[in-house]
Symmetry: C2
């Protein structure tokens, strides 16, 4: 690997980590805006999505340039995985934007009830995302694999939220619009966890060369019994 190529590859990874920082902050700030009923913050979260969009475009451009110069198969894998992770981060930022927009709608009515499971889901999804990026940086596939089963916990919380909000709707039609907004926010957090899981699977593929997406055979072949 030439020094020049190595430096450019480092630049690509650095840009991805900057993007990851924005995407992670978006989720947490979106939920903060919800908890604090802070419309100004919700608007800032929605506006910040453009920065992440732009980073995705820049990462793709840089990645395609680097592909033509990549000397090794492992470099090709790193570059294509970077493009995929970048796409997941862009979608995380879209979820934050949706959360922020639903916050603004929720602010127009009194609060439905104190939120307990939503900040819990947000915390879980954010930690999954952070861990997936840490696993990418530290080439830690054990950490990446440990993320995957946590996706199910977030799915369960989302289903529980859905049931609880459905019963609030049945109790009183006045709750319906707020419940629908909260269902969307809960689903957004579930999707953030999905994206974190995608990133984790990409990290395993990158460093182990095994494609463990879609619960494939390669996933069953890992020894720790968690996937």
């Amino acid at each position: 690997m030439t020094f020049q190529f190595e430096r450019e590859l480092g630049g690509l990874k650095e840009k991805l980590l900057i993007m990851a920082g924005h995407a992670e902050a978006g989720v947490m700030q979106g939920i903060k805006a919800l908890m604090d009923r802070d419309d100004a913050l919700a608007r800032r979260v929605a506006a910040a999505d453009a920065v992440v969009d732009q980073l995705e475009i820049e990462i793709d451009e840089l990645a395609i340039q680097l592909l033509s110069k990549a000397p090794l198969a492992t470099d090709l894998r790193l570059i294509t995985v970077t493009m995929k992770i970048s796409h997941d981060l862009e979608r995380v930022s879209d979820e934050s934007t949706t959360i922020a927009r639903r916050c603004l709608e929720l602010s127009m009515e009194p609060p439905l009830k104190p939120y307990v499971d939503i900040p819990r889901m947000a915390g879980m999804a954010s930690v999954m995302l952070k861990d997936a990026l840490d696993a990418f940086v530290n080439r830690d596939t054990a950490k990446a694999r440990a993320i995957i089963p946590r996706d199910k916990e977030v799915d369960l919380l989302n289903k529980q939220m859905h049931r609880e909000l459905s019963s609030f709707m049945v109790e009183n039609p006045k709750n319906i619009s707020r419940c629908l907004n909260l269902m969307v926010i809960s689903k957004c957090l579930e999707r953030v966890a999905d994206h974190a899981t995608n990133v984790a699977e990409e990290v395993v593929f990158l460093y182990e060369g095994r494609d463990i997406r879609h619960g494939g055979q390669a996933a069953a072949a890992n020894g720790d019994g968690r996937v």
Copy 2:
């Protein structure tokens, strides 16, 4: 370009078109299952998702092999775009699976009302997807660009469905679970249209070298005023 490489690249495109055929069929059959209250068909649609998942993995493997042999920058672009389109098609198939699952839940209650807008949305989204793939095959960027504004029409129909279903929920709490299922199906179709739009944007990028995602400057630069 060597003959061998050219043949392999042809194989990659062919696999993508097979995948596209499955993804398109999934959407239409999912909606047919809904309209006909055909649970057996809904179960087949959900089961068929595994075929599309497997094709995504095969396309990625083949694409990464080809990247290391690609002699030209345009080949690199074709290969990375193929990977992206494949990912969108995999997500389309996920949407069909969700539609099929919601059909099965809807079958457990009497029909809410005759469906009018849902088959209309399904038709629009499927044609967008078909046109985007045709544009890919025929290198027809004008056709690809013409798809992009149609996404807004599907978005509007989804919003209209959401309003209509919300008011049914307010009218009678007995409608709530059916309305929630139909809201999810409507949202799935809206997402299929989003994926078709992504494919169209990828086709423009592939053949014009312009990144028109996220309504970027390059999008504004096209002369037809439609994007």
